[in-house]
């Protein structure tokens, strides 16, 4: 049996990995859903085809993240989920709507198709917004106040914009021609909105959270923390410059850059949050050490994790290699 300190850090890190992989992967497919146009069926089809082989596996990272919270930090899991009861239900309805709409729209090419497209878009927006809302409440330590809900709503819009950003960057990579030009425009707009969002969160976070503020204004800590928003801003500027001079890129190798930049911004923001809150899993209430489950049960699971997680990463990469390149028409085989 391994020591609880090690297990807490190990499962905390694994959960962090699951969350960030989820945010990037499901982020881009939710983003594609958020951007789905109603008027242009052909473009809508191509956009949905681009995420067809992946969305299901992307969503599994959410199940893993929640599952790990449940297994490794059961106390935190129940505090967080009870505090977020309604937004969680809203997110689930969103996930249900978009998940099934995806399959229904491909099969019911009738009068219902518009309804399913609408459900897909609404479901994606609902999911992204409630995730942002939950993130906002989390940052506010689940405080029940007007300011706290105001911040959560702001954060909800921020996440919708961030997912639209990474979704449009994904489309730049996976499409060509008119749709790609459209995606460049979306990406430019959402890039600016997301940049404002990052500034807002960075400003508000230390103001409302003493624990975070103490970290941010401690000299040693700030040496690690300060470069994060600075780097983020540099990336937003680079993204903007790149997109302004973007011409048609048929070659997937030339069109992957906006996606790489968006992914880096996600990684930076997330590591900033992570560093601000560590070692708390419920802000100001519970640390990963205090809420850890029984070490022997976690040791039992650890062997599985060590064998299986590399395999998961391996076949995920394989699947992305199989579907590498520009998206083709959607067809089930």
């Amino acid at each position: 049996m391994l020591s609880s300190e090690f297990l807490a850090v190990f499962y905390g890190a694994l959960m962090a990995l699951a969350i960030i992989v989820y945010a990037v992967l499901d982020g881009y497919d939710l983003g594609v859903g958020i951007l789905l146009p109603f008027k242009n069926k052909q473009q809508a089809d191509t956009m949905i085809s681009s995420i067809g082989p992946f969305w299901d596996a992307n969503e599994t990272w959410l199940v893993l993240a929640v599952g790990l919270a449940l297994i490794a930090f059961p106390l935190a899991h129940s505090v967080i989920l009870q505090a977020l009861y309604l937004p969680v239900a809203l997110m689930l309805l969103g996930l249900i709507l978009r998940g099934v709409a995806f399959d229904f729209r491909a099969k019911a090419k009738t009068k219902y198709q518009d309804t399913w497209d609408f459900s897909f878009k609404i479901g994606s927006i609902l999911t992204a917004f409630s995730q942002g809302f939950m993130l906002g409440l989390y940052v506010m330590s689940f405080e029940k106040s007007v300011e706290s809900y105001g911040f959560a709503i702001l954060s909800g819009f921020g996440v919708v914009a961030a997912y639209a950003l990474i979704g449009s960057a994904w489309l730049i990579m996976k499409t060509t021609g008119q749709l790609q030009r459209k995606a460049v425009n979306w990406c430019k707009k959402t890039n600016i909105i997301a940049a404002c969002g990052v500034i807002a969160v960075s400003a508000v976070n230390p103001l409302i959270n003493d624990f975070v503020a103490a970290k941010w204004f401690d000299l040693n800590e700030s040496l690690i923390l300060l470069p994060i928003p600075v780097l983020c801003m540099i990336l937003f500027v680079i993204q903007n410059t790149l997109l302004s001079s973007f011409d048609d890129a048929e070659d997937i190798l030339k069109s992957w850059r906006p996606f790489a930049i968006a992914t880096s911004i996600f990684l930076l923001c997330f590591s900033g949050l992570l560093h601000s809150f560590y070692p708390y899993v419920v802000p100001n209430q519970l640390t990963i050490y205090e809420s850890l489950a029984d070490p022997s049960a976690l040791t039992f699971m650890l062997y599985g994790v060590i064998v299986v997680v590399p395999a998961i990463i391996g076949y995920t990469l394989f699947s992305y290699r199989v579907f590498w390149g520009k998206t083709q028409a959607l067809s089930y085989y």
């Binding site: 299901d56 596996a57 199940v63 297994i71 490794a72 009861y85 099934v100 019911a108």
Partner: protein, 448 residues
Amino acid sequence: MLDTLLLSRIQFATNISFHILFPTISIALAWFLVFFKVRYVQTKQPVWLRAYRFWVKIFALTFALGVVSGITMSFQFGTNWPGFMERIGNIAGPLLGYEVLTAFFMEATFLGIMLFGMKRVSPAVHTFSTVVVAIGTTISAFWILSLNSWMQTPVGYEIIDGVFYPKDWFAIIFNPSFGYRLSHMLLASGITASFLIAGISAYRLLKNDHKHAPKLTLKVALTVAMVLTPLQAFVGDLHGLNTFEHQPQKVAAMEGVWETEKGAPLLLFAVPDEANRKNHFELAIPNLASLILTHELDGEIKGLNEFKNAHPPVKPVFYGFRVMVGLGLFMIFVAALARVTLWKHKVLPVWQLKLLVVMTFSGWIATLAGWYVTEIGRQPYMVQGLVRIDELVTQVPSEHVLYTLIGYISVYAILLAAYIKTLFYTADKAVEVEEYELNPPMRGEQYA
């Protein structure tokens, strides 16, 4: 009034009832797809690929519904039953964790390749992906049923201050009712999927679909159904004996036995009355229940009165059991009749085709009835004999649970209607399609 506990129970029951419908189909349908694909590889006859491509669409839809409703379940542990994880999380957690790690990712990733990758990977890799998806669905069932069985027949644990700690993982995973429950569920899935395939194929034949594929899938499905339905009766009986050994109060509710008695009769029908602790309108076969459960004509069956305040509500368990067994027996009969008719005359008469269409979703009804028997039969406990369900419920205000319950029920009702409609719509479309359009795609071929 409606309190959080009752509403949470209704909500969980609604969710699990909706969720179970889809894995029940997809576990076995995945193996049917493997069979169609392998036959195509062996024989190179395009008809097998047509069968595959028709059913893979339905599989994709079924799988998606299973995934989204499954995610809902995983959140509800935390939102509505926080006590569940606080008390038995050390045991339930790793089992659920292993399901996500060993099944979910594998299914979801290879499903992408299976559905959209036929033109992008070699035939061997595609067949391999199909097999991996089928293995994944079965592994999922393995872990979920392991946890569920453990909650029915808990072993291998110790309790310190009300919290469960694992002592012997092998004993926990392979607990005393696990083998019966897993085989019962896998067979239920096989039967549900084969009646679904038979029903939809019969529907296409009734719509004058003269292509070879629906005839072939009808034959395959009826053959499987003819083999699995009697096998299920046999396994179900063994499962019943196991339940009699470990959960006698559940069996007493299933059989409607109030007083402990020797030589208990088998009640074909009755109206149990829990307030007066007796049955009305009994239609019984003497001594048969004792004979079935104890293999002795005057064997003793413990009555519900021995478990006052700790036995399940009788009516749902009693009726659920009769629905499951009655429908099961009828399915044995229909499968055998249709398969033998097909064997003798090569075609089915219209009335038999219609009967099969009516029975398209009979597997769902039998499975749900069976789940109600086993899950309601565990009440009032969450973990049999150890943890009562009312100890675990959330502190969330009851209105919140009510709102979300209404939300779930509305969405689920719409989705269920849409699912069934889409199945028949897909069948209608397949009737219209000419066979030449369904030639196998070549590797690297481009589609407009």
